[in-house]
Every structure is written in C-alpha cells, then in structure tokens.
C-alpha cells in the first residue's frame, strides 16, 4: 500500500510538472460548463407519463377524454391508470416523468365557468419530476397543446387551466440538469485520456519494466494510479460544482458526499478502462485515437447534454451499456432529486462493478507477462 502511494505521488508529480495537462484539468471543466451552460437540449419523444382521469363529465360531455385523445403521443408515452397514489409514487421513484391528473368535476367546472359565475376554476393537475427541465417543459407544452386543440374542435374558449406541482426540481433550469452530466463527462474524459497516455508512456519508456522488475505488485501499481485519478476527479468535480453553484446558482438537494463518491467510483472505473485500452496501443498517438471513439457515443447517448428521450428510440438501447449514462443518472438524482443511497442501489451497483471490473481486469492483464 505504501508503494501504491509512491506511484500515486509519481503520477501527480508528473502532471504537476506538465503545465499543459494541469491547464487541461482545470480549464476543460470550466470551458464545457460555460459553453453548454448557455445552450439548450433538443426535441424529446416517448416521455413516460401517467394519465389519471377521474372526470365524471357533465351531461353528455367529457372534456378530459377529448383532451387525453389530443395528447401528442409522439412526445408523450402515456400510461392510463385510476390510481392516483400509485401514479404519484411512480413519479417519486423516477419511473415516470409526470402524472397528468383530471379531477372528478373537471368538465362540470369548465361548463359552469362558461355560463358565468364559476367558483371553481377547472384545472388539470400536472405532478412533475422537474429534474430534467427539457422534459418538464415538453410535458407541460404537450398538455397545453392538447387543451388548445380540444377547444378549437369545440369552437369555444373554455376556461381550463393547468396546475403544476413539482415533486423534484421545482424551478430547475437546463443548467441544473447539465451540471451533473458535465461532471461525469469531464471525469470520464480526463481519467481515460491521462491514464491511456501515461500508461502507454510507462510501456514505451521502459519504466513499467523497471516497476515489474521491482518488488512492487501489479495491484499496487494499478491502485496507485486509481488513487491519483480519484484525487484529480475530486478536484475537477469541485470546479464544476463551484461554477454551477456560484455562477449559475444551482442548488444541490442531495448529499455532497454521495455526489463525490459517485465521481470517485467513476474515475476509478475509467482509469481501469484506460489501462486496459493502453495495452492495445503501441504509441501515444494510437492511444489518443481511442478517446473520441469512446467519448463521442458517451456524450451523445448517455443523456449528458440532453435526456435519453431526445435520442431516436431505435438507438436508445445502446445507452444502457454506456457507463456515463449511469453516472449522469446517479449524479442527477442526487443533486436535483435529492435521492440517497437507498434509491440509487442499481446505479451504484453498476458503477461499483464497473470500477472493480476494470481494475481487476487491468491487474490480471499486467500479470500475464507474455
């Protein structure tokens, strides 16, 4: 273990002497935060919502049914239920993005308002998970469009409104959604890139041979590297978090400790992956070419910059094998939804398996000594 620390110190010192890399570590998160902080996500589709219709109608008329029929089913993937409590719970668990609720006197109130002398305003209740503002906006927009469409069919202007209730992310903006994704992305980029490059260098300069001919074990070398990148990732995510909180005014609802634990697990996983990839490259130049290869699908498909719902549905399955998806998901759930460990067991298990798996594989690969 003491030897691992020697390796860690060595890695960190080498970076410290290399001003360009130092700049990379500090400025990449800053630049990305600023560039994307001012941009927006695209169109979404198949957003899972639950529609609960308790409207008893008024005479022959049932306005709720008409509005539901006019819901844009390309944007929304509605599921119908009568159980309001269950639907609410589903939103709370992150299984659905929203509950669209029509109260029992929905049509009746609308008609009495039309006649005049309405005490109760007829309103659709939208219970939202606002942790992804793009999705929240899309849901609200879809409901409003359905109302407008229905009123056009009827040819009258009915006084129907919507009532928003946020389960998570009230007032969340795109930047709140973005910050956790950027953290994951930056950690992935730096851990992967720097490990691949430094490990290829260890091989080509012969320092790895010197280490392998010394009393240090393969596990000590890999753990030494892992510690170095865990530390670097902490520094980087602190930068992202600092910018997000101080400049973009985001608020973190969950535990910072849990946020950093997810970051550290991710960094360890990616440095393990970096060591594995470095064995497939003979030169630093070859090694660096791996990075866009892994990085592009990760940015595009892991839901970092836009939600998975904004990705064409036939490509979506690929997202589920991208580690960054689970990292971004977990960070977002902690930071915006304020979730604790108990609700993130699946994501944390996957990330733990990723970290242990890549580290164990890279130790084993180094032990083969062919």
């Amino acid at each position: 273990m003491k030897r691992s620390l020697t390796i860690t110190k060595g890695v960190l010192r080498r970076i410290r002497h290399d001003k360009r890399t130092m700049a990379l570590i500090v400025f990449v998160p800053l630049i990305i935060m600023f560039i994307f902080g001012y941009s927006f996500g695209g169109e979404v589709s198949d957003v899972k919502v639950i529609v609960v219709n308790h409207d008893e109608g008024f005479g022959e008329e049932n306005l709720a049914e008409k509005i539901i029929r006019n819901l844009d089913t390309e944007t929304l993937a509605p599921e119908y239920s009568n159980d309001e409590m269950w639907a609410r719970e589903s939103v709370k668990k992150g299984e659905a993005w929203a509950l669209i609720f029509f109260p029992s006197n929905f049509t009746k109130d609308a008609f009495s308002a039309l006649i005049g002398g309405a005490d109760n305003l007829s309103a659709i209740k939208i219970i939202l998970d606002g942790s992804d503002p793009t999705i929240a906006t899309a849901v609200v927009k879809a409901v409003h469009e359905a109302i407008t469409e229905t009123m056009k069919e009827k040819g009258v202007e009915m006084p129907v409104s919507t009532n928003m209730e946020y389960i998570y992310g009230e007032g969340a903006e795109f930047i709140d959604f973005l910050a956790p994704g950027v953290m994951g992305m930056v950690v992935m980029m730096i851990s992967l890139l720097l490990t691949i490059v430094s490990f290829v260098r260890e091989r080509t300069t012969g320092t790895l041979n010197r280490l392998l001919a010394s009393p240090i074990t393969e596990a000590e070398i890999v753990i030494g590297y892992a510690l170095a990148f865990a530390l670097i990732s902490l520094i980087q995510s602190s930068i992202v978090l600092g910018v997000a909180i101080l400049i973009f005014n985001i608020s973190v609802h969950g535990s910072i400790l849990l946020t950093f634990s997810i970051i550290v697990l991710s960094a360890i996983g990616f440095q393990g992956l970096g060591i594995l990839l470095s064995t497939a490259a003979k030169t630093e130049f070859q090694a660096v070419q791996f990075v866009p290869l892994l990085f592009m699908p990760s940015i595009l498909l892991a839901g970092v910059l836009w939600p998975l719902e904004a990705i064409p549905s036939f490509i979506r399955p690929i997202s589920f094998v991208i580690p960054l998806k689970y990292i971004a998901d977990a960070l977002r759930s902690v930071m915006i939804r304020g979730w604790g460990v108990e609700r993130l067991l699946l994501n944390l298990t996957i990330l733990l398996a990723f970290a242990i798996g890549t580290v164990a594989a890279s130790i084993m690969l180094m032990k083969r000594r062919e």
Partner: protein
C-alpha cells in the same frame, strides 16, 4: 563519475573485499525457452553465473539478450524451462529486492526531476525516508548529477539519462545487477567510467550480468556467452575462447563460431 565506491558494495557483503562464497551460483537456467508465436526468441538456454563475476551476454541485435534478461527477472514468462536466481525459483517478488535492473530504454519518468526519479524508485524498493535521504545524496554525487538534481529529466542529455538510470538501479544496493546494453549511445569517456564502476561493483561482491554488442566490452567481462538467434553458441572466459579458436580478437571468435554453426 565520483570515487565513492565504498558505498556501492552490496547489502550482504561485509567488506568490499568479501570473498565469502565466491563460488556460489547466482543465476542458473535450465532449458530456458521463449517463443513468440512462430518465432523462437530464446532457445533452450542453459547457463550458470557465479557470485561476483561480470558475465557478458554478447550478440547482435535481436539475438535474444533482452528477452533472456526479462525472463530472468520474471517480467516475461518462459515458454519452457526454468530459472533460479539467488537461490530462488523465478518468478519471486521477494528476491527482486536484492536485484538491480537497468533496462535498455532509459526507463525514467522524463517529466520528473532527477531527484524525484531517485526517490520514486527508492521508495518502491522499500527504502525508508532516512535511508533514502542518505542514498540519494551519495548516488547523485556518484553519478555526478548533484548539480542537476532539480532539473526535469527530459532536459538531460543521453549520457546524463544513462547515468541517472544506472543510479536508479543501484539505489537499494543490489547483490545482482542486470544491465541491458548500458553503454549504447554514450561517449567513450563515460563508457570507460561505467566499466570501472562495473569492475568495482564486482570486486565488492556484486554479480553483474551485462548485455552488449560491443566486442571490446565483451573482452572486459570475466566470462562471456555468445548468443545468436536465441541459441547460446559458447560460454567461456574471453581468453579461453580466443585460444580455443586460435583467434586474435573476440570479434573473430564470434564470426568463426557463426560460420561453424551455420
């Protein structure tokens, strides 16, 4: 380089002139073979090296010298055969503490300073802070890099890098030293200085296993093994090889042996 040879004797040797178990075998190999696919890099190598001798493995590039050293250190797994180093079957991590290795490549962290390199490798060999402080100064003085200890290694000349690499392999006072082409690409005065160090180390009881393709260096070894295409063609003292074949120089011996075998 400096004169402080007394610091360079090995751990287990009480005095620099300790002749103790001079006849002890330090390296033994039995049918050591390494194949890479269809290529046989080292073929059925049987070798014995005694304590305190300078053993030279001589041969052209690609003869299997580096692969042999890597198998002896346990960096490469032999396809067949076995090696025993300092009485222990290879691979054995404990025994690596008593061995120094200067790889063919510079094998230094080029973006660290000389001192940082020395500290890193010293710590890896288990030197504690006070030992390290002492050794660091001695060794830097010895390879005449004290002045440059805070300079990043990538700014060093080839000769300076070689000196630092040599220093890193000596830090933990090894009993057995593997030097893989240590004198390639360095100027004659430094080469001479390196050789006087090797001699001094051997006198102090350190076994030196060296590879080279310079024949003039081969003649300075106590014994040499001539290797070509992974096969050991002959092993003996330089003089015995010359008289056996009736040749003037080792170079001629080597060429004669090659012709005979081909």
């Amino acid at each position: 380089m400096g004169e402080d040879f007394k610091y360079l004797s090995c751990h287990s040797c009480k005095t620099p002139d300790d002749q103790g178990d001079r006849n002890a075998t330090v390296i033994e190999t039995y049918g050591l073979t390494k194949k890479f696919g269809a290529l046989t890099a080292v073929n059925n190598l049987n070798l014995k090296v005694k304590k305190g001798e300078i053993f030279g493995l001589i041969g052209p590039n690609g003869a299997g010298k580096t692969v042999t050293i890597k198998m002896l250190l346990g960096i490469l797994k032999p396809t067949k055969g076995r090696a025993i180093i300092l009485g222990e079957e290879v691979p054995n991590r404990e025994v690596l503490k008593r061995i120094g290795y200067m790889p063919q490549e510079t094998a230094l962290y080029e973006d660290l300073t000389a001192q940082e390199n020395i500290r890193l490798f010293g710590e890896i060999y288990g030197l504690n802070r006070s030992q390290l402080g002492e050794r660091e100064d001695e060794i830097l003085k010895f390879v005449e890099l004290t002045k440059w200890k805070n300079v990043i290694v990538s700014n060093f000349s080839g000769g300076m890098k070689s000196r630092l690499s040599f220093a890193c392999s000596l830090l933990h006072q090894p009993e057995l030293l593997f030097l893989d082409e240590p004198t390639v690409g360095i100027d004659p005065p430094l080469r001479a200085s390196f050789w006087s160090h090797f001699k001094e180390l051997a006198k102090g009881g350190v076994t030196v296993f060296i590879t080279t393709h310079y024949m003039d260096e081969a003649s300075r070894c106590d014994r040499v093994g001539l290797i070509r295409d992974g096969r050991l063609l002959a092993v003996d003292t330089p003089n015995a090889l010359k008289s056996k074949t009736g040749m003037e120089s080792l170079e001629d011996v080597f060429l004669a042996l090659l012709e005979e075998k081909l």
